[in-house]
């Protein structure tokens, strides 16, 4: 017992490796939020009138809303007027037309993060949209994607270039009034990614967005919209990091997915925002609304997330299974350490006939952290023959952390079938002793055991990222053996 705890504690104590700050000149708004700020933001982005109206409507609505307090997390009250709502690296032209025009400082930053953007060094087979604070600074592989008919660009560009698509789908899955943070995002979102895959197209490569928070006192409000037309397929991955700072920073994103008939969207997240230090100082507040609408029949939406960062995570990637025979999946690994808090899970809303959903959640708690799974499985009256399988496993490292599960089921259809399994286990002394008896370092043993625990989720990640995710867990667990 004593052994494991000591080892675990030592393991957790590794420094966050993406904690550097890029020294770059930026245009940053003064802190504060009002209609003028929103108008300025919209103007800087050269948005059409309808977009500004949309934002202002959301803002007025938001003013009436209350911050949710039902999650199993605690954090100091956020003063929304002390946050800056826009920060972007200064640049000569409006939008960099090619990578050559992107500030070398920025390219260097992404290189340091392991995301080379330059043509020659680009990640093979993965197109990247790089979002730095409030703006998208570069998008790779645009041309080959365009050839396939796939639109992959920043949401700001999409608002100008594809207004009809944006108008049709923006807010269609997560309306501005959905919840407090979604409302705020709708009013002030600054950038994010837009993906459109036309009918019958299988997107020829992985798409990804790398979100980087750099500026201090700035919130990041990204907005992502992915539309998969009939019989199309797309796999998308997002990664996130931020500098180490003593102050908390807010990240409130909204992601909307729309899958039409026979379409498939696979959305993966590797979230590694700065988690705060070992005393719980600093770190990102990650308050995110992610939802996919499986509108079409036989459509499928899969969420896979590996959440290791952030001081507080509040996130429930969900699926609304409207189309008959549509499928929703949620595979999650959430690791908390030190003083991190995570309240995460999913909602599977079964509306169509024979819809099915799978939830595999793996929560790992170490240090003094708190890790909660919160899930809702709902069957509407029309969900004839619908079914859900939920498996919630918690793994505790040490005995000062907490794991909680809050599974909710609501059924308005008698034919719906729900299966639920839940386990809680510890990295046991016996397992540690076995590994060490075979000559394996305690650190390596813990990370091996934790990786084993997460295997079912990791195998859902795109190959390139599964390895990354494993390494990330290892880093996040540093100092957790004691």
């Amino acid at each position: 017992m004593a052994t494991t705890d000591k080892e675990v504690n030592e393991l957790i104590k590794r420094e966050y490796e993406h904690g550097f700050v890029t020294d770059i000149e930026a245009d940053t708004f003064e802190p504060g939020l009002n209609e003028d700020v929103i108008a300025r933001l919209s103007a800087i982005k050269k948005e059409p009138e309808w977009m500004l109206e949309w934002r202002l409507k959301a803002y007025r609505r938001w003013l009436e809303m209350d911050e949710p307090d039902w999650a199993h997390v605690g954090y100091p009250k956020i003063d929304y007027n002390s946050i800056s709502y826009y920060s972007a690296p200064k640049r000569k032209e409006d939008m960099p037309q090619s990578l050559d025009e992107v500030d070398p400082e920025l390219l260097k930053t992404y290189e340091k993060l392991g995301i080379p953007l330059h043509e020659r060094e680009k990640l093979a087979g993965v197109a990247v949209d790089a979002v730095f604070d409030s703006v998208s600074v570069a998008t790779t592989f645009k041309e080959p994607l365009a050839k396939a008919g796939v639109i992959f660009c920043s949401i700001s560009e999409a608002i100008q270039d594809y207004p009809e698509l944006v108008k049709k789908y923006l807010g269609s899955v997560v309306p501005a009034g959905d919840n407090f943070f979604a409302g705020l995002n709708s009013a002030v979102f600054s950038d994010g990614t837009f993906v459109y895959v036309p009918k019958g197209v299988r997107c020829p490569m992985e798409l990804s967005t790398y979100f980087r928070i750099n500026a201090a006192n700035t919130g990041q409000f990204e907005r992502t919209l992915i539309i998969a037309e009939d019989s199309s397929y797309v796999s998308y991955l997002e990664g996130c990091t931020a500098p180490m700072r003593d102050e908390n920073q807010l990240h409130a994103a909204v992601v909307e997915l729309v899958a039409l008939d026979d379409a498939q969207i696979k959305y993966s997240t590797v979230q590694n925002w700065y988690p705060g230090d070992e005393n719980g100082k600093g770190g990102i507040f990650n308050f995110v609304t992610k939802r996919g609408a499986a509108i079409g029949k036989n459509s499928k939406i899969s969420w896979t997330q590996v959440e290791t960062g952030s001081a507080v995570t509040w996130k429930y990637p969900s699926c609304v299974l409207r189309g008959d025979n549509s499928v929703g999946e949620f595979y999650s690994v959430a690791l908390t350490n030190n003083f991190q808090q995570a309240d995460t899970g999913t909602k599977m809303i079964h509306l169509g006939k024979n819809t099915s959903s799978t939830i595999i959640s793996k929560g790992i708690s170490a240090g003094k952290s708190s890790n909660a799974y919160r899930g809702l499985v709902k069957f509407g009256p029309g969900a004839e023959g619908a079914r859900n399988y939920t498996q919630c496993d918690s793994l505790l490292i040490g005995d000062r952390c907490g794991a909680h599960t809050f599974p909710y089921i609501e059924s308005k259809n008698k034919s719906a079938i729900v299966e639920h399994e839940a386990t809680t286990s510890k990295v046991s002394d016996e397992q540690m002793f076995l590994c060490r008896q075979r000559g394996i370092d305690p650190e390596q043993a813990v990370s091996m055991i934790v990786n084993g625990f997460c295997k079912e989720v990791f195998k859902e990640l795109p190959m390139e990222f599964a390895v990354e995710a494993g390494k990330l867990l290892e880093v996040s667990l540093e100092g957790s053996v004691g």
């Binding site: 017992m1 076995l434 590994c435 075979r438 000559g439 394996i440 091996m448 079912e456």
Partner: protein, 257 residues
């Protein structure tokens, strides 16, 4: 090779080992027998460095080096191997990955290059044949859903892969069917070598027909109460432990400690 002097160990304040003395030379096979609860597994675990047990007195040295100063993993790298009486499961971690990590930890310690996945796969397949374990078991989680006998064969597989200096086998024969006993014995005999010692804990003298020990010891009440040659096991089989003045832990003379 291994020298144990006046070893005392306790768990949760209760003394389990009450002064063990044992010398094992390279090339020798020693068998330890004794009633349930007499401390055989405790001795095995203490040798391997399980911190659940506190060593309160005495010395253990391996080739002159004080083992008590070393952590579990360091002892392992010095060549101590323990085949567990009750092997634990590590769900989701493939046997192959686990074994390769272990083998590479040893190799790194010896300054040898690590084995890559392909090299290791080849080696592991060969060795698994030696213990009659379908190579499919390499892909499964460590001991995950293995039958009792399969777990034991997996332990011997590990011994053969890791090539320890001292192999401690805690009841590796229990729960085996007749064929498996043959297989495991063959495996253990394959381990026998000039520069290696084997310490076997067993309840059954039949194992000793397959693996003929050089010395047999009876552990009772935390002490070695009798040592002898191969014939001692036969005598125990015939007469039980009663004639040695011990039946079970209650019957152990405890005043002396």
């Amino acid at each position: 090779m291994l020298s144990i002097k006046n070893l005392h160990a306790s768990v949760e304040g209760e003394e389990i080992l009450k002064g063990i003395n044992l010398e094992i030379k390279a090339g020798e096979v020693h068998a330890i027998m004794g009633p349930n609860g007499s401390g055989k597994s405790t001795l095995s675990q203490v040798l391997a460095g399980n911190e659940t047990f506190e060593v309160t007195q005495g010395e253990i040295s391996l080739n002159g080096e004080n083992l008590l100063d070393l952590e579990t993993e360091e002892r392992a790298r010095e060549g101590i191997f323990l085949a567990f009486q009750y092997p634990v499961e590590i769900p989701g971690v493939s046997n192959l990955q686990f074994l390769r990590t272990a083998v590479n930890a040893m190799r790194t310690h010896r300054g040898e290059p690590e084995m890559n996945a392909a090299e290791f796969m080849k080696l592991a397949k060969e060795v698994s044949k030696q213990v009659d374990l379908d190579p499919a078991f390499l892909k499964r989680g460590v001991n995950e859903g293995f039958s009792g006998g399969e777990k034991k064969r997996n332990e011997i597989l590990q011994a053969l892969l890791l090539q320890p200096k001292l192999a401690i086998l805690d009841e590796t024969d229990s729960g085996l069917d007749i064929d498996a006993l043959q297989v495991v014995s063959k495996g253990v005999n394959a381990l026998r070598a000039e520069d290696r010692a084997i310490l076997m804990v067993t309840h059954y003298q039949r194992l000793l027909n397959h693996i003929v020990p050089d010395h047999v010891h009876v552990l009772a009440g935390g002490r070695i109460v009798k040592s002898g040659g191969r014939e001692l096991a036969l005598e125990l089989e015939e007469r039980g432990y009663g004639w040695l003045g011990v039946k079970d832990e209650e019957a152990t003379p405890s005043a002396a400690s």
